[in-house]
Structures are given as C-alpha cells and as structure tokens.
Subunit: 139 residues, 3 copies
C-alpha cells in the first residue's frame, strides 16, 4: 500500500467551469498506483469542485446560468458585503456544491464515467489563483 | 492494510430515490475489512447520491418535490435542450447533490446513523441503468 | 500505513454553524499520521457538514439567511410534517450540503486553506446531540 500527494494551481479568469480532468489523470498515472482511491480537495471558500458532463459545453453555460439565478448578486439582506457584490454569493454557491470529491481508481485510472469531467467551479468575478490538492492511496 | 473495489448496477424506472444501503453493507461485509473507509461513486452526471432518512418514505417524496420546484422543467433560458426537457434539470440537480460519499467503517459496518440510508437519486424520466462503484480500504 | 477512528459529540442549541476545526486538527495530530487522508462523517439527516470561511462571522449569518429563504418553513405542499415545521426543511438543507468530507493530510495537518474551517451545520430548532465520526489513514 502506498500513497502520494500533490497540488496544482489553476489561474481563473472570472466565473466559470475550468476542467481539471487531465491534471487528475496525470496525477493518478504518475503515482504508479493501479487500484485505490483518489481525493481532490480545493483550498478555498469562494470556488468549488464539480463532476459534470464535459461533452456539450452548453451544459456548463446552463449550470452557471442556474447558479447565477439561484444566488444573484444584490440580495439586499446580505450582511457580508465588504469584499464585493460577488463575494457572498460565491460563498453560497460553494456551500451548494463540493469542496472535496473522492473517486475510486482501477487499472491506474479514476473510474470516471464516459461523460464525466472534473471541474473547478469559479464563483468570483476577478482573476484568482486556485489551489487543488490531490491525494491517492492504494496499491 | 487491504482494499477492495466492486460495482453494482441499478435499473431506474423514472425520477426518484433508490435505496442502495443493503448493497453497500453487503460489499463492506464481503470485503472482510473491519476498520476502514468505504467510498461510493456514481459514474453519471444526471443522477446523484444522497444519504437521507430511510424511515418515513414521505421524506423521499418531499425531497423530490423540493428539487422539482427548485429546478423545474421548462426554464426558458436553458441552452442545452436537445436531450429532452428533463436532461438539463437533471444535470443541475446532480450538481446540487453528490457524486461521491465517503463513510468510515468500524466493526465491519459503515457507521451510518440509525435513520441514514444510501440512495441513488435518479433525475431522469426514462429508465436508465446506473453504475455505482464501491471502494473500501482498511484492516 | 496505519489508520485511526474516533467520534465527537456536539451539543447544538438551535440552527446555526458550529465550528469543529479544532477537534479535527486534534484528531489528526493525535493519530500520529503525517501524510494521509482524513474523512469527517455526520451520522444524522437533519444537520450536515460544511467547509466555509471562518474569518468573518457575517459569512455564517448570510449562509443561514440564504438557506432559510431557499428552504423556508411552511411550504404548504410538504407531506412529512409530523416532526415539526423545521424537520422537512432540515432534511432538504442537509441534502443540499454534505454528509461527508475528505481532506488530504500533510505534515500532520489537514490541508485546509487559510480561511477554511470545518462546520457542523445544524438545521433543527431544538437542541440536539450530534455525532461526527473522524477517520484517518496514512503514514
């Protein structure tokens, strides 16, 4: 049984989904582990993780459209407004999605379905550097 | 330290919650692992996983009622509509719930609470075959 | 490779966020594991887990404000109402957040970002005792 940890940095350019599936696959392959569990963790509270369809980019547009409507800027009851109108909505969107995801690994690959991709979901408007930590354990 | 991986297939017959607690318990028991971590992963983007009350079936009815109201069919701003009116709402509902869940294992059993059950949450209308992957690691 | 499991009990006094970061750090440090994966699991279906900002308490106020508005008491279509007006909304809020969270561990600490804290998110009005299970595996 062995394990490996690494982190990657993603430079975001505004709200949207940034695919990290290739980075994940490279980390798993590089670990030399054939069977195990890989975990992805994002070290921030105004962006999040999502496994979603990576075939039709319209899915990503609609996902953003839904979250923008569900958690709009300008809700007048918000108290935490000092970091900009997009900050508290970003925390809420992060709370509604995920901070960590675990995926079984077989034959040296995460068992993602045919249409599943791993995405960083950026909820802030301005550019940010986002750190994702990968951990894998197995044989 | 050892590990095991297996997958099960669930045939869904429309939107709803399909309990998989028994399959999970059987997988954990069959692994021979007494203390460890079990992870459940679903390989699709229009259904998801949920740990929820399995005592009163009305809870499941209300959970579906809420998600149907929060993410209704027919939102006229959607772009991804070619796979049917239930497809994009299904992706959104999946994004709002979980794709993977990790549960500690002690005494050969997942530490689910008294009222907790593991459910596959199907968001599509037509029948589908859904694959869940189980991974366990421990002693 | 080794592992450890422990549980803590949190006495909640109504709806709100209860920070458990210190308990998590103590568990990881006490395990003697330097590199690995720690998992937090909550054994209930009307409270949940959240990793969110622990710097400005207003963020916690707004998170609660959002979920209270998104899932209000008194939705007249609910069927499961026998356990009180806050019970079914609590299940729904739990379904929208997390029951388990995995965090990589390096140098004997969970890799939480600077502003990230681990919270128990209580959705019920009356006091409850809530059990969180911690599991860690690694070297």
């Amino acid at each position: 049984m062995q394990q490996a940890v690494d982190s990657i940095s993603i430079a975001t350019r505004g709200q949207g989904l940034y695919e990290a599936t290739r980075d994940l696959r490279a980390f798993v392959a590089g670990s030399g582990i054939s069977t195990g569990l890989v975990t992805i963790f994002v070290r921030h509270t105004s962006c999040s993780l999502l496994i979603q369809e990576n075939a039709d980019p319209d899915v990503q547009i609609d996902l953003q459209g839904f979250f923008r409507r569900l958690v709009p800027e300008g809700m007048d009851w918000l108290v935490h407004t000092t970091e900009g109108p997009d900050d508290m909505p970003a925390h809420i969107k992060a709370a509604l999605t995920q901070t960590s995801i675990g995926i079984p690994v077989t034959e040296g690959r995460p068992v993602l379905g045919t249409w599943q991709g791993l995405f960083l979901f950026e909820h802030r408007t301005r550019p940010h550097r986002r750190e994702l930590v990968f951990h894998i354990i197995g044989d």
